[in-house]
């Protein structure tokens, strides 16, 4: 088992496995998004208070979930990169930061679009949920910046991994911000201990979209790592063979 795990961490093996999986994952993601968006934007009923405007949750909520999940994956990869100096983990930290920053920006952007008509404001600086999510975006950008700030790219990867690890403290703060402080942002609808506070006809498409976002993240992460491996191993014999086809 452990032997298999270490074999996977070799760039060459990872490249082969990623290449075999990618076509299937891509097709599944595309189909899943078509189904999920139709389900959420057309089939699901309107909300009793917000009417049709609530449908933005089918993008906003999954992006916010992923912004937290991707960070956790990135911090895990950061730990592996720091302790075992695994090259693949260093690449994973960087690519997670790129994708995580986009999910965070999407969550913030869609939240602002919804906030203006519903709350009456685009943005409130005093709101703990909004502020901690904005800090998350800065953490992602910080990881990307540190990664590129050193002439020795492997040194940059390790310094970035330290920031990724240290910033993990922000994840529980974002999740619990709506409980610890009075915020304008509403409390959790789905991720709470008692029953979810959304009707099942709205909840199922939301959970489905959440799963599709995870699938999308896995697919794009694999594709990006694959390209980065080929770039970094360009002078190896196997990479040469892949290039020739």
């Amino acid at each position: 088992m452990f032997h298999r795990f270490t074999a996977l961490s070799s760039p060459r093996h990872f490249y082969a496995i990623a290449s075999a999986w990618l076509p299937w994952l891509s097709v599944l993601t595309a189909l899943g998004f078509a189904v999920g968006l139709y389900w959420g934007l057309v089939v699901a009923p309107p909300d009793y208070q917000q009417g049709e405007a609530y449908r933005i949750i089918y993008v906003h909520v999954p992006s916010a979930w992923l912004s937290l999940m991707v960070y956790t994956v990135m911090a895990g990869a950061g730990l592996v990169a720091l302790v075992w100096h695994v090259k693949l983990a260093e690449i994973a930290v960087y690519e997670c930061a790129v994708l995580g920053a986009w999910f965070t920006a999407l969550a913030l952007g869609t939240g602002m679009l919804w906030g203006k008509p519903m709350w009456g404001t685009w943005w409130q600086w005093g709101d703990a949920r909004m502020l901690s999510e904005l800090i998350l975006l800065f953490l992602y950008i910080g990881v990307l910046g540190l990664h590129n700030a050193f002439a020795d790219s492997r040194k940059g990867a390790r310094v970035a991994a330290v920031l990724a690890l240290a910033g993990i403290v922000n994840i529980p703060i974002i999740h619990y911000s709506v409980e610890w402080w009075n915020t304008l942002h509403q409390g959790a609808t789905v991720t709470r201990f008692d029953k979810p506070a959304a009707h099942s006809s709205m909840l199922w498409p939301l959970l489905f979209m959440g799963t599709m976002f995870i699938l999308y993240f896995s697919t794009v992460l694999l594709a990006r790592i694959r390209v980065r491996i080929l770039e970094q191993e360009a002078d190896r014999q196997w990479a040469e063979e892949v290039r020739r086809g």
């Binding site: 309107p46 009793y48 720091l82 302790v83 075992w84 709350w119 403290v169 402080w181 304008l184 009707h199």
Partner: protein, 149 residues
């Protein structure tokens, strides 16, 4: 795991725990300043300094909304169940403003103890349901608005 890897693991854990402890202490120290709004009960308990501008949050009391004809002036009471405060506001109200709705207002208390608001924001709760379900709940005597606020 060899000795060097163990040392690096220890260092990584120490840095993470140290940063987390630092942030936790800082948040604990600033807890009051991180309050986005005060509830009417907190105001009644004297937690707000007099003559300061602050945010007040609560539910719009049932039957308390009075629009003045021919102007944008509106008067209502803001309640958290235990205490309530009269609010006076002049301006545009958000779409979700209605009796029983959670709102957050920015303003200050005048000498008469009325909260004069400069800004009114609607706070949406975390409940989502189709209109038919909300109707059924209302008929059963369970108001769907502001259930778990």
């Amino acid at each position: 795991m060899n000795a060097r890897q163990k040392r690096r693991l220890g260092l990584a854990v120490a840095v993470s725990v140290g940063v987390a402890a630092g942030v936790a202490l800082m948040l604990y120290a600033f807890q009051q300043n991180l309050l986005y709004f005060y509830s009417p009960s907190q105001v009644a308990a004297g937690l707000v300094e007099p003559q300061t501008t602050f945010r007040l949050g609560g539910l719009v009391a049932q039957g308390s909304v009075q629009h003045e004809t021919g102007s944008m002036e509106v008067r209502f009471a803001l309640t958290d169940g235990a205490h309530s405060l009269p609010v006076h506001y002049s301006g545009l109200l958000p779409d979700l403003f209605r009796e029983g709705q959670g709102i957050v207002t920015l303003g200050r208390l005048n000498e008469a103890g009325v909260f004069v608001a400069q800004e009114v924001l609607a706070k949406h709760d975390e409940n989502y349901m189709p209109p038919e379900v909300a109707e059924a709940l209302t008929e059963a005597g369970q108001a769907p608005v502001g259930i778990s606020w």
